[in-house]
Every structure is written in structure tokens, then in C-alpha cells.
């Protein structure tokens, strides 16, 4: 289990990052065990109990449908993890492949990176808006759209990093040993990209939360009945004075989680290969 040990060693002396890591573990646990933890069905409507203040049995109060905010918050954790991981997977797989292949096969890269340039010229949020209107509101589409938005930056980053690695002596050495393209790319280059990719993934995960919340706010994100923190904020935002708890709890959850993910990403970044540090945007 050297992987876990080396992962944990990144957090030595970073108390705040450890707190962040613990919080993320709590979120992950809530995401997995949501049905067991949530006292109510997050979709159950109860007009009689609408806009109840926090207390028993509604820990975080209820929204204007009379749905239990605490249960929705717990299922929201699940949605946060799904959106985060989903966007990371889409962004890293599409963007990662484009970036890596473009850097390695120069001629192909000329074409592909030009396309990435065109996409990057589109403002990220506008691109997401147009795509979301084109597709319909759903969890999958939200993931795809956010993933595509970050795929372009990921492609850029991986392009740069692969280019650097391609110039490495050990790659020359592998070529001199007779290694073919596949072996050079996936055996020699890719493993060296894993840890910077993890860092990039952590930042995408964090930004995806904010991006998804922004889409929810604009009414172009997840379907409104889905229990997500962004939807909770967006649907109940008019109650900011009438029922303040409806904004404070989900807001705090988003901020805490994004902050934690950024802290963890930051800690990880400080321990990766210094050559790649500049490549990864993050915060």
C-alpha cells in the first residue's frame, strides 16, 4: 500500500489540507450511503410542512415543496460526486487523449490542436450554455458539457506536458531500445503523467461543482427535481430572506467541498514533478 502511504505523505504538515481531506471523505461517505443516512425521501413533497425551519425532524428545514433539505443535501453529496467524477472522466479521457496524441504525433497535433484552439476561443460558460440548450437538461448531459469544457484546457495541458516528456532522455532511450509508439506513449509517457493528471483531476472536480451550480442557477443544468446543492440554491434563492436556511446550508456545503478539493489539489500539486507545476492551472 505504498500508494496510499505516498498519497498521505503529501499532506504532512498541511493541517488545513488534512481537514479538507477529511471533509471530502465525509462527502464521499454521504454519497455512498445516502439512502441509509437520509431520514426522508429527497423527492417526497409535503405541502403542509413547506418552508419549515431547521429543527426536528427536519435538520436543515424544508423547501417550498416541503421536501426535507437535509435529505436533499445528503443526496446532493451523491450528485456532487457523480458530477465531479463524471466531468473528470470525460475531460481527462477526451482532452487527455487529444493532448497526448497531438503532442506525440506532430502532424495530427497540428490539426487537432487547431480544433482545440477554436473551441477554446469560445468562452467556457457560453459554450456550456449553448450545448445545454441544444441537448436537454439531464445529469449525463451536464457531465458531458462540463467535461467538454474542461477537455479543451486538459488537452492544452497534456499537450504541453507530453511535449516535455517526449523530449526526455528516457523516451529517447526507449526508442533506441526499439520501443514502438504504443509502448512509448502508454508505458513510458503516460505513467509519468499520472500524478499531474490526478492534480488536474482534483481541480476539474472542484471547478465542475461551481460550473454545475452556475448552470443550475441559469436554469440550464441538472433537471430541477434532481437533489443537487446547486439546484437547492437555485430553486430556493428567492427565499433568501423568507427562509435563509435554504441558502445557507447548501451554499456552505458547496463552498466547503470546493475549498477542500482545492486544498487537496494544492497539496498534491506541491508534491508533483516541478516541471509540470506551471502547466496545471488550478487555483
Amino acid at each position: 500500500m505504498t500508494f496510499i502511504a505516498s498519497f498521505l505523505s503529501m499532506f504532512r504538515g498541511r493541517k488545513l489540507a488534512i481537514v479538507g481531506l477529511i471533509w471530502l471523505c465525509i462527502v464521499a461517505f454521504a454519497a455512498i450511503a445516502a439512502p441509509l443516512l437520509a431520514p426522508f425521501d429527497p423527492l417526497e413533497i409535503d405541502p403542509v410542512a413547506r418552508l419549515s425551519e431547521p429543527g426536528m425532524p427536519y435538520l436543515f428545514g424544508t423547501d417550498h415543496f416541503g421536501r426535507d433539505s437535509f435529505s436533499r443535501a445528503i443526496y446532493g453529496a451523491r450528485m456532487a460526486v457523480i458530477i465531479g467524477l463524471g466531468s473528470v472522466v470525460v475531460a481527462l479521457i477526451t482532452g487527455g487523449l487529444i493532448g497526448m496524441l497531438s503532442a506525440y504525433f506532430t502532424r495530427l497535433g497540428h490539426v487537432l490542436m487547431r480544433g482545440v484552439d477554436v473551441l477554446m476561443a469560445f468562452p467556457a460558460l457560453l459554450l456550456a450554455l449553448v450545448l445545454m440548450t441544444l441537448l436537454e437538461r439531464s445529469v449525463t448531459n451536464t457531465i458531458i458539457v462540463i467535461g467538454v469544457v474542461y477537455a479543451t484546457t486538459t488537452a492544452r495541458i497534456l499537450f504541453g506536458m507530453t511535449l516535455k516528456l517526449k523530449g526526455e532522455v528516457f523516451v529517447d532511450a526507449a526508442i533506441c531500445s526499439g520501443a514502438g509508439h504504443g509502448s512509448v506513449l502508454f508505458r513510458h509517457i503516460l505513467p509519468n503523467l499520472i500524478s499531474p493528471l490526478l492534480v488536474q483531476a482534483s481541480f476539474i472536480f472542484a471547478f465542475a461543482q461551481l460550473q454545475a451550480a452556475a448552470l443550475d442557477f441559469l436554469g440550464l443544468g441538472l433537471p430541477p427535481e434532481v437533489a443537487s446543492w446547486g439546484n437547492m440554491l437555485s430553486e430556493e434563492r428567492i427565499y433568501v430572506t423568507r427562509a435563509p436556511w435554504l441558502l445557507i446550508f447548501p451554499g456552505a456545503l458547496i463552498i466547503l467541498s470546493v475549498f477542500s478539493m482545492n486544498l487537496v489539489g494544492d497539496a498534491m500539486r506541491d508534491s508533483i514533478d516541478p516541471r509540470f507545476k506551471d502547466d496545471i492551472a488550478g487555483v
Binding site: 526526455e168 532522455v169 528516457f170 529517447d172 532511450a173 533506441c176 531500445s177 526499439g178 508505458r187 509519468n192
Partner: protein, 268 residues
């Protein structure tokens, strides 16, 4: 030592494009600008020169790490510069390269065993992991390393040890020609001596030919049979090492030799 040349390079040019784009005019850096030399079986030829003279590019061109612009390089009678990557691949076993930086030339993510197994499998020299492990152990011993280090990763070794591993990776394929590009420049003096001795011994024992690229005249004198002096992309003087060091002909060679700080002067 036989007299048939293993490698014969004729009028080799390697130019790099340095500018140019959609609208800009192209400009070229003529890193290697028409050089010719040959290496015989079992011979060590040194290519010596100052930084930027193009000596490293020669090595990289001969291993197809850079495309040549023109010229010919006959290896065992076949022109390796004209080969496409697929055709050249089997020949890579015969033409091996030792790199300068022992810290950069080993993939940090792979164990020593993985690094050394790969060339064996690529060239079909081992049928199983066990077979490979046997050969690796044997080679590691030849380069003066304990075979038990196989499982470790590069960061666990010092510079000298890594360079030995780099040499093992080359020797395990039993190549015919080794190109050593500044193979000992990055090492501390005391370690450099060990590695130089090792290279010399391996070369003698297996009778391979070697193109030894270096800027260090002392090292060159120590290891070579013949020396070619490069200056601005061209070879200005070639000769037997004794001739080059004791009766240099070209002004540039003379200047190089006279620039070297010498301990003996002070001692005397």
C-alpha cells in the same frame, strides 16, 4: 581488429528548421554540415568538439532520433538513413546509445527490471520473465551491480549507479555499435573514472565498436583509438589519437589542446 568498416558515414547533413510558419520565411540551423567518417569493427572513434559544434546531433541522427537532411550512413552495407522506422527497428538492437544524463535517461516510473526487460522482449531475446531475469542478473553483474537491485526504481540509485544501469541496458542487447553521447560528463571525477574503466573494459571484452562523443579531451584520449575533431558542424581533423594529441595539424585542434588547464605545469 579487422579493417572492414562497420559504419561508414558519407557527407551527412542534419539541418533544423528554426523559423517559419504560415507566413514567415523558413530559416535553417545547419547542425551537421557534411561530415564523413568510418568506424571499424572493434574500434572506438571519438567525436570531440565544443558545445554547439553538432557532435551530439551526429549520434542522434545515426539512431534516427533526428531525421537526416542528406547523406549516407552504411551500417554493415545498408543505408540506415534511408530506412523507415519499421525497417530500422530490428537494427536498433545492433546500434545502441548511452546517454549523458544518468538522472534523465531512466524512466522514473519503471523498476530496473522493467527497464531492462523491455528491450529483451522487443527484440525477442527472452521468451519468459524468468529468462529475462537471468540475463538481467548476468548483465548487472557485468556492469558491477548487485543483481538484487532489480526490483528498485531509479531514484534509489546514485548517478554512477544509474549510469551503470544505463550501460547495462545497452549491453544486454549485445550490440555491434554503441554510441556514447557524453556518457561520463555528468559524473563526479571519482565516479567518472570508475565508469570510464567499465566502458573501456566492456568494449575490450566484447569487441564492439563505439562512437564516443565528448567535449572532454582527457576522457577522449583515455578511451579512443581514433579521434575526429568537430567544429561548427564539420570535422576539421581526423586521426589516430596519438597523432591528434601529440602532433595536431589543424589550428582549432591546437587551440583546444592549449586551452586545457594542466596540473603538471604547476607540479613541475
Amino acid at each position: 581488429m579487422t579493417s572492414t568498416p562497420l559504419l561508414r558515414v558519407t557527407d551527412l547533413h542534419t539541418h533544423f528548421q528554426t523559423g517559419g510558419g504560415l507566413f514567415a520565411k523558413r530559416s535553417w540551423l545547419k547542425a551537421v554540415n557534411g561530415i564523413s567518417f568510418e568506424i571499424r569493427q572493434g574500434e572506438v572513434l571519438s567525436l570531440v568538439g565544443e558545445s554547439g559544434c553538432g557532435k551530439s546531433t551526429v549520434g542522434r541522427t545515426l539512431t534516427q532520433l533526428e531525421p537526416s537532411t542528406s547523406g549516407q550512413a552504411l551500417f554493415n552495407g545498408a543505408d540506415i538513413l534511408k530506412m523507415n522506422p519499421a525497417e530500422f527497428r530490428p537494427l536498433r538492437r545492433d546500434i545502441q546509445m548511452i546517454f549523458q544524463d544518468p538522472f534523465a535517461s531512466l524512466n522514473p516510473r519503471l523498476s530496473i527490471e522493467q527497464t531492462l526487460t523491455e528491450p529483451l522482449f522487443i527484440h525477442g531475446l527472452a521468451a519468459s520473465r524468468a529468462q529475462a531475469r537471468e540475463q538481467i542478473a548476468e548483465t548487472l553483474e557485468r556492469v558491477g551491480m548487485d543483481p538484487r537491485v532489480m526490483q528498485r526504481h531509479p531514484h534509489e540509485f546514485s548517478g554512477g549507479q544509474r549510469q551503470r544501469i544505463g550501460i547495462a541496458r545497452v549491453m544486454i542487447l549485445k550490440p555491434k555499435l554503441v554510441i556514447a553521447d557524453e556518457a561520463v560528463s555528468a559524473l563526479d571525477v571519482s565516479i567518472q573514472a570508475q565508469v570510464l574503466n567499465l566502458i573501456k573494459k566492456l568494449q575490450r571484452d566484447s569487441g564492439i565498436s563505439m562512437l564516443f562523443i565528448s567535449h572532454d579531451l582527457g576522457v577522449v584520449r583515455h578511451i579512443s583509438d581514433r579521434v575526429a575533431v568537430m567544429y561548427r558542424g564539420q570535422i576539421v581533423e581526423t586521426g589516430d589519437k596519438r597523432q591528434i594529441f601529440e602532433t595536431p595539424q589543424h589550428d582549432y585542434t591546437k587551440m583546444l589542446l592549449s586551452s586545457i588547464p594542466r596540473i603538471s605545469e604547476r607540479v613541475a
